[in-house]
Symmetry: C2
Amino acid sequence: MVVKSELKLIKSLQQKKCRNEHGLFVVEGKKTIEEVLKSDMQLYKLFAVDFDDFNTEGVEVNRISNKELSQISSLKNPNGYLGVFYIPKQEQKVLSDWILVLDGVQDPGNLGTIIRLCDWFGVVDIVCSPQTVDCYNPKVLQATMGSITRVHMRYTELKAFLSSSELPIYGAFMDGVSVNDLKLPEKGILIMGNEGKGISDSVAQLCTDKLAIPQFGGITTESLNVASATAILLHEIRK
Amino acid sequence: MVVKSELKLIKSLQQKKCRNEHGLFVVEGKKTIEEVLKSDMQLYKLFAVDFDDFNTEGVEVNRISNKELSQISSLKNPNGYLGVFYIPKQEQKVLSDWILVLDGVQDPGNLGTIIRLCDWFGVVDIVCSPQTVDCYNPKVLQATMGSITRVHMRYTELKAFLSSSELPIYGAFMDGVSVNDLKLPEKGILIMGNEGKGISDSVAQLCTDKLAIPQFGGITTESLNVASATAILLHEIRK
C-alpha cells in the first residue's frame, strides 16, 4: 500500500508546475525505468505491482496495487512499473560541438523523437526556448525510450543564448539554401522551429545561415514534420 | 439530425473490418477534409456542426449536432467536421520509379508520418504487407495531413510482389552497409521493417542490398524510430 499523500504527490507530477516545484518527474515502463536507473539520474522512489524480474540495480522497490497505480499513472493502461526521479540540474558550461536548439516545439511526441535522434547522432546538448514542451512531460518521456538519460537539456531564453555563442547558427527554413548544396562545419548550432509557425522572427534574425530540405517533384505537401526534418539535418551534419 | 443507422455505420468505420466491408473510411478535421475533397477520392457523405466557412467545393453538407458527432468521432475532442469517403481501389499497374515497401509497420503515427514523407519526396507508391497497420485507420489519417490523397497504397503479400519485380531491392537493417558509402540508383525498392522486429526473414532473403544509417559516436541507443529512418533514406534516395 502507498500512503495517500504520496499518491497525490506523484499524480501532481503530471503537471509541469508541480514537477518544477518538487524537482521530480515520473518514468513509466519497465525497460525505460531500468535504463534510467543505470544512468546518472537520482532515484526518488520506485513502485511496482509485481517485481520478480525487475532489474532494479539493488535499490528498494515499493509494492503498489493495480488500483493505486491506475490512480497516479499518466497511461491509459499502466504497465505495472513507475519510477520517480529527481530532475537533473541544468549544466551551465559553455557548449561546443553541434548543438540542437528548439524554438517552440510543442508536440510531446516530436520532442521525444528529437531527443532520441540526438542520442543516435551524438548531439548531446539540446537547448530549448521556454515555450518548448517540457522534456519531463510523460508523453515526451514515453517517446524518448531512455535517450533522455544521455543528452543534456537546457531551457533558456534563446536570444541571450545565441548572442553569447561564437558558433555558426543554422536555422531550418522552408525557403533556405538546400542542405545538399552546403558544406556544413564540424561545429555549429542547428535551430528547428515550432510545428506551425517555424522559427520565430527574433531568433531568425540571429541565424547566420538558412537551411532547407529540398522537396522532390512539384510542391504538394506543406512541410515536413519537425522530427522528420531534424532526422535529415542531423544525418547531414554528422556525415 | 442524423439517423441512428447512419451514426451506427459511421462509428463502425473505426474498425478495419467494417471499413473493408463497406468500402468507406472517415476523415476528421476541416483542413484535411477540404484537401480530400479536392482530390480524386469520392465522397460518401459530409457532416459539420457549423459550416459557414467550410470550403466544400459545392457538395452537400449535412448538419450534425455536437452530441451526435461525439458519438461517432474517433477523437477525444471532435472538431466539428467529419467526412466519409470511399476507399479507392488498389491500382494493379506495374510500378517503376522508387517504391517504398513496409513490412509490418504497426504504429499508426509512424505510418502517417511515412505517408507524409513519401508525399514530400515524391515517392508515390507504397506497398504494405497485410500485417502493416491499415492506412485508413483514423490515427494514421490524422498524421498524414492530407498526403494520403497523393500516394497510392497497396496491401499485398510482399514475397510475391518482390519476386515479380526487376528493380534492385534495398532493405534497411541495423547491420547493413552505410548509406553514406553507397551510390543509389534512379529506381528501386526500399523496404522498412517493423518497429521492434525489423524486416522479416522471408523478406530479408529477397533483398539485393542491405542499407544502414550510421550512428555517431559509441552505440548507445537501440535504434532509430522507423519514421526517422525513412526520412533519412528517402532524402538520400532523392539527392
